[in-house]
Symmetry: none
Subunit: 250 residues, 2 copies
């Protein structure tokens, strides 16, 4: 049985029982306690259960923490990009965090830092709200329930009232010809606002999106200071020739 299967079974089992011990789970899953501990540690880090001494308890409110359940498996690639991106954040920074699964993965690596986070993403909010060293400003506006994020004119105006040292953003498409593209104006207007009001803009983007264009063209390549990606130099060559600073993660 692999990790994904065990994860599913553990969460199902915890849904019935309020809480279970490592040994109970070891018996249910026919795996060793060591494996169960590793699994529980990983799942707890995703915020889907509460680790206790000796076992685990069901999360009371997975409503807003459910980015990982929505996007299924967080790919190792996204994690590497997120980790690299997080390494650009220093204590004392004020940063914008866009909504999007790769940016969300940064949370893990931000928890040890002393920073202020300004975001429109509810999963990010849920993930960081219990970290004492991180202060949070929430972007207000209309709530997009599907994306678990805030958007709209009011949100853009609100972002314009802030200035951050760095912005970490995502896109749907990126190419030397068309710059940054998205598949919705709602999203792109928020991202544009982050770009406009940040000192440095870091774009997190996995290889699959490079060279691909979506239909809303919302920013030039020159708006970005650094692209953080897992793509190889062959794919990013055109971008680098356009003067973009590229950082390969992994």
């Amino acid at each position: 049985m692999n990790f994904q299967e065990r994860k599913k079974k553990i969460l199902t089992a915890l849904d019935d029982a309020e809480s279970l011990t490592v040994f109970e789970l070891a018996e249910i899953l026919e795996a060793s306690p060591a494996t169960i501990r590793r699994d529980l540690g990983d799942i707890a880090e995703e915020g889907l259960l509460v680790r206790t001494h000796g076992g685990a308890m069901k999360m009371e409110n997975p409503a807003l923490t459910g980015f990982s359940e929505k996007s299924g498996v967080n790919s190792p690639v996204k994690e590497q990009i997120a980790e690299k991106a997080a390494s650009y954040v220093q204590d004392g920074d004020i940063i914008f965090l866009d909504c999007g699964s790769t940016v969300f993965q940064m949370c893990r690596y931000l928890k040890k830092k002393s920073i202020r986070v300004i975001t429109n993403s509810l999963p990010i909010l849920a993930e960081l709200i219990d970290v004492p060293s991180i202060q949070i400003n929430l972007i207000g506006g209309e709530l997009n329930k599907a994306r678990k994020a805030v958007h709209g004119d009011k949100a853009v105006q609100h972002i314009n009232g802030y200035h951050a040292h760095k912005a970490f953003i995502g896109v749907d498409g990126l190419s030397a010809e068309n710059g940054l593209t998205a598949h919705s104006e709602h999203e792109s207007s928020i991202t544009t606002a982050f770009i406009r009001n940040a000192g440095q803009v870091m774009l997190l983007c996995d290889a699959s999106k490079i060279g691909r264009d979506s239909y809303v063209k919302f920013a030039e390549l020159s708006a970005i200071h650094t692209l953080i990606t897992d793509a190889d130099t062959a794919k990013t060559a055109a971008l680098q020739q356009s003067g973009l600073n590229v950082e390969i993660a992994g």
Copy 2:
């Protein structure tokens, strides 16, 4: 049994009994008094109960735990007030919901309605986000982690950008002499903004707060259209003489 489980049981037990001794809890949880004392110390530090000499008491206004405030602390009185308040909400309404436990209880009774809710409270957000018939606007600004709500200048400015049919608010104190009073300026400035931008203002307030004054005086009685309370007419007489419309719940 581990700490997380005991914590849950202690809070549940305290919800029924008003207060319990260390020895009573030790018996209920089958743990030693030393363990109970440690637990009570830790939980008290989180602000979820009041430590007394020899035991613990229920917190009247515990900081909203988690996003979704589960069972925990809803008194029947607050529920009656909340139900009555919700009966003032009609389909199509745009309403402001303040943060505070009584206003939060309204959520239960709002779920069948088709409305737009504008709020600064994260527990309310979490409670209503999955209701398809309710659209939500989130007030943006600085996040107060302890209260799980947004506040600050930006939040007030943001509220000023909206107009709602009705506002449902709470207070810490209410009297004919001093009007509405609060514990903190942060809270009161938000509530003031709701009052200023709503067509009708409904004040949800249990009997214990009537005739009591807190130290930040932030609005006149005349700002309120209807007081919804469980207090008897003896207590509300002075308020009614000042021209306040009083609705008794229950």
